[in-house]
Each structure stands twice: as structure tokens, then as C-alpha cells.
Amino acid sequence: MAEHMQPAARGPEADASLYLHPQTLARLATFELRAKMIVEGVMAGQHRSPYQGFSVEFAQHRPYVPGDDIRHLDWRVYGRTDKLHLKQYQQETNLDLVLLVDASGSMNFGSRSFQEASGQGRKTSLDERNYWSKYDHATALAAALGYITLKQGDRVGLVVFADEVLSMVSRSSAQGTWRQIVGALSTAPVDRPTDFGRAIDQTLAKINNRCLLVLISDLFTDSQVVRDAMARVRHRRHDLIAFQVLDRRECLFDFEQAAPFEGLEGEPRLRVDPRAIRKGYLEAINGHIESIEKTTRSFGFDYERVNTHDWLGPPLAAFVARRNAQIKRSKYG
């Protein structure tokens, strides 16, 4: 098992390919093709607009009420039924994707070997870690999502946060955006505690129009804080997809020997027999995970659990498929 060290700051020379396993990239190509098939040739039409206005595509009729703009009256209906109805259209906009990546200390945990996970033949990371941390997995996922989105011509932004926003890449669909994102992910420190609410507030203050927020975090914070933060996102009419990144060992807690445990976010050392406390621990973490998922789904957001020991492909495929299903449902249903 890979043990854990305090990570060093990542250098700017980090190669984006470090985060994209060949298998992942191969799958991503498939995603792109599938996305193109959904809205053939129309990049803007690939994403459902939350604004029902008077744009291109008809949505529905509604009865006229005094004060409505008479330019939107459907005279054809008036001619047939002698009643005044307004035509409503579904506005189609470009997708602004904002990647929120958690860089707090708890994300630095990992039990998978770096060599196996990276697939690059490297035994250690650039900061000489020999294990694949949750942050490594989160950055890989963020890079992959950014890559897909940029390939589709949409704008992508990045927020790296811990107890506050640590770094940000403004939304853009320009050519160098992806490298900026990768660079930002590479330089983020990961040894600070989490303040999820503050980070969300700082992020929302920077976003004017509606965006799709992709939250990639272990969400090891109080579920009420998560609920409050998601409520504010909902209130600002943003959409959100939550990827909860977990290490398999965190969910198994399969230690056999008593050992002192040290928190990665400055928690005091705790001497405990893991076998004695395992049941209680699993109850606590599973309860928290379920609570986070329930909270997320209660706001109508998507939730996906990501295991660092799995390839990125399966969760990405599941995500894109579910997202497409939602688009289809909102468009035709």
C-alpha cells in the first residue's frame, strides 16, 4: 500500500498527458463522437437552455395576460380560436462549464500505486509520491471533462479550492484554455483544510450567467454545509454535477494492526485499534456518503461516486449517458 506524504507543489512543467491515461483518452474520443451524434453540427444545441424565452425553438403556448408583449402573440391561434395566446420558445445557449476541484488536505490520501494508476511507466509522481491520490484522480477527471467540453467548443473554467479559492481559470473556449487548466491543477497545493461554503460563495461571486458546475471533491465536510452551498447554487439557477472522489481504502478501512492515525488537514494524532473501531467508522462514512448523495439529488443535481482505483472511463461514460438522457428528456418530454 502506498503510504502518504505531504505533497510538494506541482511544477508548471506538468504534462497534461500525466492526467489522461491512454485508455481514458481513447474513451474520451468515443464520448466526443457520441456527443456529436446528439446534436449534429450544432454546438449550441447540444445543451439544454434553462431559460425559456423567445429564441429559436418553440416551446409552448400560454394565455395572454395584460402587459405581455404583443409581439409574441400567435395570430394563427387567434384566427382559429379567437383567443389570444403567446408563443414561448426554448432559448438555446452555449454551455459554460466550471470545474470546481477540491485541493484540501484530505484529497491527498491514496492507497493505489502511482505506477499502476498513471499508466505512464512512472513509479512516482513529479513530487516523488509513489501513490495515486484522490487529488490525482480529481485532476485527471477535471482535465478529461475540460477536454471534452473544449472539444465541443464550449467554454470551460476552473476553480481550485480548499478553505478558499486557491486558483481560478476564467471560462473560455480558446485554444490554450486546456493547458491553463492543467497548469492550474498542477500547481495547486493540497495541504489545507476544507471550507466548502466559502469556496462556493467565492466561486458564485465570479459567475454571472448560468453555468454547469462540476464539483470534484471527496466532500469530507459537514453535510449541512454542503446542503447550504448547493442551495445557493440552486438559487442562482446553476446546474451542478457532483463527483465524490473516494479511495477504496477509505471505504474499506481494512487495517489489521493498531497504529496511530494522523489527519491530513491538521487533525491531532489518534491512537486506535482499527479493527475495534472499523464498524463505527464505516457506519459514519457510509452515512455521510449517503447523506451527500441524497442532498445532491434533492436539489436536482447529479451525483456520481468515483473510486480512485477505477479508470476514469466508466464514470465518465455513465455521466455523459445520464446527461444526454436528461437533455433528451427535457427536449422531448
Binding site: 488536505g105 484530505s106 478501512f253 479493527r275 473510486n307
Partner: protein, 778 residues
């Protein structure tokens, strides 16, 4: 609570810290694990903190308790009935008190071992509770053991008083006999359930008092006994014992005649054997031996204690380093004017730590002459030595200085301290035999069965019977009658074996054959060298009870002696205290048979045979303390010759044995019904019991375990005898003496430790959740 091995307990309790140290060391050596989901770990820990802490402490306590239990069990606690078992069962305490000669040993403070044992016994008795039903018995171990209080008495105070009256004796400790007596008592007490039987053996367990090499096995019925005993003494004690006092001649015969005899002062040579205990066998020690002819060890008329006084024999024995045994010969003058026929020689040595064996006595008989009768038919006087028969040769040999008369001229001859008479075989009656010391039979072939019976009775009463092979019959059947009457097992050939060229005679080899000829041992080889035997009867079947006095060069005995016995005798031939002697000459004293009669050996040979034979046949009237000596005939009681007020021991007329064992040394006068002294009985200390060498604990423990069974013997620790400890937990005796022994308390503890070990293993498995399923996962 008292432990047999307190050091082991201390070490075991120190080992309790091992689990704690392991726990602390493991904490230090473990590498910390950095953990991301710490908040859930902390949350779970806080939720189960109390339970986890309790489990850990409980586990640690179980492990510590396990080690402590094992340590306590190995330390062998002495836990009483009020201890581990919590019972209040009454106790029967049997105190076996060593009052043997070894108990006279004094320590540096002058306290005897017996006094120490009595103090210990008193302390033990004080801790009994008669209201609970405790009872006590008291047996003394000085042989033979005496049941002072048996069966156990509930009157503890009375037992204590009896304890105070116990005095030391001069016999050796006999634990086996005491155990047998105890077994007999306990076998009659079967059915008295609910009582604990505890045997307390109080002794120093020196080599003399309790020889651990002796077997106590075979005492069935004592397996349930719990035995308590003090640890064997380790104090070095110097002791020199007189183990033997033996006059060279067991009686003195005057060489003078008439009035000279009455005033003669006779000299007796006494061989004194000393033994020194090995533990005191240092260099430079000397022992002074004083031998006197008084009964109390003090020379008569002696006022200043000077050893230069006439009549007092002294000798000094230097001890070489490591030497444990020494012999010396002391010449003592005996005043014959007192008119006493039997005199007592008293040997004594300097005082040492054990005074009981510093004095030893032996009697010596003073008489004018030895009365010898030759039983042979009378005949005409021989005209030459060629016509001498055996009786003639013996007469000449025994009275060589009776000149002027031919052998057959006089029926009675007195010369050289020997009074010789000759009687016809048919005139040999009991009355005639009663007045002689030695009967020489030269024609045994002419004796009837009644004559043989009279001879056997004469021999058994302390007479010497000398049988000479007759030359007349060609077939000898008389040995059959001899064997039957005397109870001998000699196989004598019926026809003589002729050796025309003669067979040489050899002096007997070794010490066993030289008893009767010990005075001639220096000259004997030269004297026998000229003797030839032409004809003799073949004798075989010489057992240990017989001795060959002279043998021929082909190994056949020429002269042999034996002790008469009969089938009704308990002791058997040659047993201790046997009286009488039978001497057989396997060749006729005729020149046709042997030229012994004409050789220089003849005179000294027959003088020694008669003198030493009579002394040997007379036996001894001495006995060791702790035995039942045979009293002289007509005696009805024994009284000490020294002043012991009122002490008298009756004599059973049927057996002539005292009514109780003689445990006290000294000279005892045997009195008849009229109060007249008819003889003396000398009781000497049993020096087997005065060996003061220390014995190691292991051997004594193994020895005592034969008594009570393995693992049922406990040592009495000094603090257990501390009455100030009270009857509570601190009272070692209340628990040790009346309670279980080592294994009795250790076994439940070991079982408890075993159960705790299983419980600990199970609990540790539960606490460690080693078998909890691997739940969770993504």
C-alpha cells in the same frame, strides 16, 4: 498469606509489568498512518471511546491477572481452610516430635534442638481452635515412637502440658514406626469425614534423626495426609561419638591363686571406636578417651578429676583432616577386691554439641576360672601319646601346667585359670551343665537325643559347646542330631575323607573368621604351617551365621563355630543378642587323623577357643537405646543403678523382656522378686541417631513425600510460628498448618489461570474484531 517460594512470587509479580511494557513499546515502534477521512475516524472513536477504553483496560487487566495467578501458583501459597477454600473444617493435627538422641544437639546459645521443636509445637498448638473442633495428638519419634496423646484430644492445653513433659531419649528417631502407628490409628478413624488431618514432623532432619536415604514407602493409607515440617537444619554441628567399646577379653580370669586372687588388680584392654561427624571433620582436633571401671563414668575414690589416678585408662585420639572414624585401645585396671563378678567399663570423651553419645558402657566379667567339662567315657590311663584320644589331648592342652598327673588320673584339674572336669556321657545332666561355661564333647556319637537337647539348652543359655569328631565309628550319623538340636544347617559328611599325605591347614582369611582367634592373629600363620590333617569330615553349608575358625588348604573347614537356634526363635541364627556358641572340630584329635595335637598350635588354639568362645557364648547384656533387652532370669524389674528416683521398668516373666522399650542409657540393675540384684542390663546410646551431618532440602522433601504423598509436604516458615500474627490472613500457621499444602492451593490457581487464559484469548479475539466481516467499499 504465606508462600513457599516468595522470591518466585516477587519475580512473577514483576513479570506482570511485561504486558504493560509490551504495550508501551509497541506504541513507540508503530509508524503513524496519514489518513484523509479523519473526521469519521474521530467521530467513530468518540462514539465508542468508552467501550474501547474499557475493553483495553479489561484486556490488560486480564493479562496482568493471568501472569499474577501463575506467579502465585508457582510460589505455592500456603492457604488454610479459612483461606482459598473458605471452609471451616476442623483440623486434626498430629505432632510428631523428634526427641531422639539427635534432639539433644545444642546450638550456640545452648538451646537444645528438642527445646526448639517443643517451642514450634507449642506455637502450632496455640493456633488451633478447639471451639471449631480442632484436635491435637502428640507422638514422640525417639525410637520406638511413643504415643503421648493419641487419639487426638480436643483439650489443646492438656496436649501442650504433655508436650512440656517430653524429654529427650538416647534412641534414634524412627519416623517409619510412628507413621505406621499413625496409619493404624487413622484406619480406625475412617468415616470421620469433614476433618483435615495434618501431620507436623518437628525435627532437624540431620543424618542421624532422619536418614533421607531410608525408605518410607509402603505406608498405605497416609496419602491424604498433609505434612508440615521445618526446613532441615543447616547449622554445622561438631560431634564425636563413641560407637563401640569392646574389651579384648569379655571376662577376666585371675592368674593367681588363693589370697592373691582377692587382692589382685587386673588389667583389661578395651578397644574404643570413635566416629566424628563429617561436617565437623576439620584439622587439628583431638579427642581424649577415658575408660573407667565404674558404672557412672567416674572412677571410684576420685576426688580431683585427675586422669593420672590409678585404675583410670586414658588415650588421646588425634583426628586427621577428613577422618571420621578412629580406634584406640585403652588399658584400664580393675580392682578385684570389690567381689563383684560383673563390672562395668565406662568410656567417655570430651563434651561436644551432642552430649548423649559421649558415654558408652560395656560389661566385663571378673572370675577366678573358666569351668570346662569334657564329656567323654573314662578309660584306662594311656601309656603313651599314641594312645591319647581327643579328650586326653584337650585336657593336656587346656591345663598344660597341671604337671605331675597323667591326663586320666584326676577327674578335676585346675590350672591356668581353667577348671577342668570330665564326666561320662550318661552322667551329663542339666544340673552338671548348669555349673560350667564350656562343654567339650569328644564322643558325640554316644549321645542320646535327650543329651543333645540338654546340650542345646545349655548352649542357648549362654554356654559354649565344643564338638570333636570321634575316631571310632566309620559312619558318622551324630551330625544329624547335632543339627536338629542346635538348629544348625551344617552339612557334615557321614564318612571321613582320608588324605594319607596330609593336608595343610591355613589361617582364615579376612576378619570374619578371626573372631575367636583374634588374639592369635599375629602368630597364627606360623603356628598353623606345621599342622597336617590326614582324615576329616567334610563340612559344608556354612552360612553367614557361622564362621570358619581354621580351614584346610583345600578349602574345607577344619574348625568352625556357629550360633545355636531353633525354629521357634524369632531372631534366627546369629541375630543380634544371640547367646551360646557351638564349635565343631571336623577331625578327631588323634595322631591318625591329624598331628594338630602334637603341634605348638594345640595349646593356644584350645585356650583361645575356650576363652573367646565362652565370652562369645555368654553374649552381651548390653543393648541399644530404643530396644527391648532380654533381662536376666528371675528378674522382675529393672532399676537404674544411678539415682533415678522411682524409675522402674517391669519385666514380663514369659518373655523376659521389659514392659516398655529402654530409651534411657545407663546401667540398669535387674532385680528379682526379693529385690536382690540378679544381673545388670547396659543400655547404650543408639549412635546411628547421633550423626549430625546436615541433609539437603530436596532429599528430605522427597523422603517426607513418601509419607504424605507427592506435593503434599510443606515447610514451616519461621513467621508461620509467630503467634502475634493472629488468626487472620497473616497467620501462616493458621493457614499452612491447618490448611492445604502447596499443590492444594496451587492447583485451583493454575486452573483459574488456565480458564483466564482461555477467556483472555476469546476476549482478545472479540475485542480485536479480527473476525468482523469486511463490510463497506464502493
Amino acid at each position: 498469606m504465606t508462600f513457599l517460594h516468595p522470591m518466585l512470587l516477587a519475580a512473577g509479580l514483576a513479570a506482570v509489568s511485561i504486558p504493560i511494557l509490551i504495550h508501551l513499546l509497541m506504541r513507540r515502534r508503530r509508524k503513524p498512518v496519514q489518513w484523509g477521512a479523519m473526521r469519521f475516524l474521530v467521530e467513530a472513536y468518540k462514539k465508542h471511546k468508552r467501550r474501547l477504553t474499557l475493553e483495553q483496560w479489561l484486556l490488560l487487566a486480564m493479562r496482568c491477572l493471568l501472569i499474577a495467578l501463575v506467579a502465585i501458583a508457582l510460589a505455592r501459597p500456603l492457604v488454610g481452610s479459612a483461606g482459598v477454600f473458605g471452609g471451616t473444617a476442623p483440623v486434626n493435627m498430629y505432632v510428631l516430635l523428634d526427641n531422639s538422641i539427635a534432639s539433644q544437639l545444642e546450638n550456640e546459645q545452648g538451646t537444645t534442638a528438642l527445646a526448639t521443636h517443643k517451642e514450634s509445637a507449642a506455637a502450632l498448638l496455640e493456633q488451633l481452635d478447639s471451639t471449631r473442633g480442632d484436635r491435637a495428638a502428640l507422638l514422640t519419634l525417639g525410637g520406638p515412637p511413643e504415643a503421648v496423646v493419641l487419639p487426638p484430644s480436643a483439650d489443646i492445653a492438656a496436649v501442650g502440658e504433655a508436650l512440656g513433659r517430653v524429654q529427650s531419649c538416647d534412641s534414634r528417631m524412627d519416623l517409619r514406626a510412628a507413621a505406621e502407628r499413625l496409619r493404624n490409628h487413622l484406619s480406625r478413624q475412617e468415616g470421620a469425614s469433614g476433618q483435615q488431618n495434618v501431620v507436623v514432623v518437628l525435627s532437624d532432619f540431620r543424618a542421624g534423626s532422619g536418614d533421607a536415604s531410608e525408605s518410607l514407602a509402603g505406608l498405605g493409607g497416609l496419602e491424604d495426609l498433609r505434612v508440615l515440617a521445618p526446613r532441615p537444619s543447616t547449622a554445622i554441628a561438631g560431634n564425636v561419638s563413641i560407637v563401640d567399646v569392646q574389651p579384648i577379653r569379655t571376662f577376666l580370669v585371675s592368674q593367681g591363686t588363693g589370697s592373691e586372687q582377692a587382692s589382685a588388680t587386673r588389667q583389661a584392654q578395651v578397644r574404643v571406636t570413635l566416629r566424628r561427624s563429617a561436617s565437623a571433620s576439620g584439622a587439628g582436633a583431638m579427642s581424649r578417651v577415658v575408660v573407667d571401671a565404674s558404672e557412672d563414668g567416674r572412677p571410684r575414690g576420685r576426688t580431683d578429676g585427675s586422669v593420672q589416678e590409678a585404675g583410670l585408662g586414658t588415650a588421646t585420639v588425634p583426628w586427621d583432616p577428613g577422618q571420621t572414624e578412629a580406634r584406640t585401645v585403652v588399658t584400664v585396671e580393675i580392682d578385684g577386691r570389690s567381689g563383684e563378678r560383673e563390672r562395668v567399663l565406662t568410656a567417655r570423651i570430651d563434651a561436644d554439641d551432642l552430649p548423649g553419645d559421649n558415654v558408652r558402657r560395656e560389661s566385663i566379667e571378673v572370675r577366678d576360672a573358666i569351668r570346662v567339662v569334657i564329656v567323654a567315657p573314662r578309660r584306662l590311663s594311656p601309656t603313651g601319646v599314641r594312645q591319647f584320644n581327643s579328650a586326653d589331648w584337650i585336657r593336656v592342652a587346656l591345663t598344660p601346667s597341671a604337671s605331675g598327673s597323667s591326663p586320666a588320673e584326676s577327674l578335676s584339674t585346675r590350672a591356668d585359670g581353667i577348671e577342668l572336669r570330665q564326666v561320662e556321657p550318661e552322667l551329663m545332666d542339666a544340673q552338671r551343665l548348669a555349673g560350667v561355661d564350656c562343654a567339650i564333647i569328644t564322643r558325640p556319637d554316644q549321645l542320646e537325643d535327650a543329651d543333645w537337647d540338654r546340650l542345646a539348652d545349655f548352649a542357648r543359655s549362654g554356654g559354649l559347646v565344643m564338638l570333636v569328631t570321634p575316631e571310632e565309628p566309620s559312619v558318622h550319623v551324630w551330625p544329624d542330631a547335632m543339627n536338629r538340636a542346635m538348629g544348625l544347617s551344617w552339612q557334615v559328611g557321614r564318612e571321613p575323607i582320608a588324605s594319607p599325605d596330609g593336608i595343610a591347614v591355613e589361617a582364615p582369611q579376612g576378619q570374619s573368621g578371626a573372631t575367636l582367634l583374634s588374639m592369635l592373629s599375629a602368630e597364627l600363620p606360623e603356628l598353623v604351617s606345621s599342622v597336617q590333617v590326614m582324615r576329616s569330615l567334610e563340612v559344608s553349608g556354612v552360612d553367614n551365621s557361622s564362621e570358619v575358625v581354621l580351614a584346610m588348604s583345600d578349602g574345607r573347614p577344619l574348625i568352625l563355630s556357629g550360633v545355636p537356634s531353633d525354629a521357634e526363635s524369632d531372631g534366627g541364627p546369629g541375630s543380634e543378642g544371640s547367646r551360646g556358641r557351638v564349635v565343631l572340630v571336623a577331625s578327631a584329635l588323634s595322631l591318625d587323623w591329624t598331628d594338630l595335637s602334637a603341634r605348638p598350635l594345640m595349646v593356644p588354639l584350645f585356650h583361645e577357643l575356650v576363652r573367646q568362645g565362652v565370652g562369645a557364648a555368654r553374649g552381651t547384656n548390653g543393648a541399644m537405646a530404643g530396644t527391648w533387652p532380654t533381662a536376666p532370669s528371675r528378674a522382675v524389674e529393672l532399676r537404674p543403678s544411678s539415682s533415678r528416683d522411682g524409675l522402674s521398668i517391669g519385666i514380663d516373666p514369659a518373655t523376659r523382656l521389659p514392659t516398655r522399650a529402654m530409651r534411657e542409657t545407663g546401667v540398669w540393675n535387674a532385680l528379682d522378686s526379693a529385690g536382690a540384684t540378679v544381673g545388670k542390663v547396659i543400655i547404650d546410646p543408639d549412635v546411628r541417631g547421633s550423626r549430625t551431618e546436615i541433609q539437603d532440602e530436596a532429599s528430605v522433601l522427597a523422603w517426607l513425600e513418601q509419607l504424605g504423598g507427592a506435593e503434599r509436604v510443606s515447610w514451616i516458615e519461621p513467621r508461620m510460628l509467630d503467634a502475634d500474627n493472629g488468626s487472620g490472613e497473616a497467620s501462616g500457621v493458621a493457614q499452612g498448618a491447618t490448611g492445604s499444602t502447596r499443590l492444594g492451593a496451587s492447583l485451583p490457581l493454575l486452573l483459574a489461570a488456565l480458564a483466564l487464559a482461555f477467556a483472555e484469548a476469546g476476549f482478545a479475539r472479540i475485542v480485536s474484531h479480527a473476525r468482523s466481516p469486511k463490510e463497506g467499499g464502493l
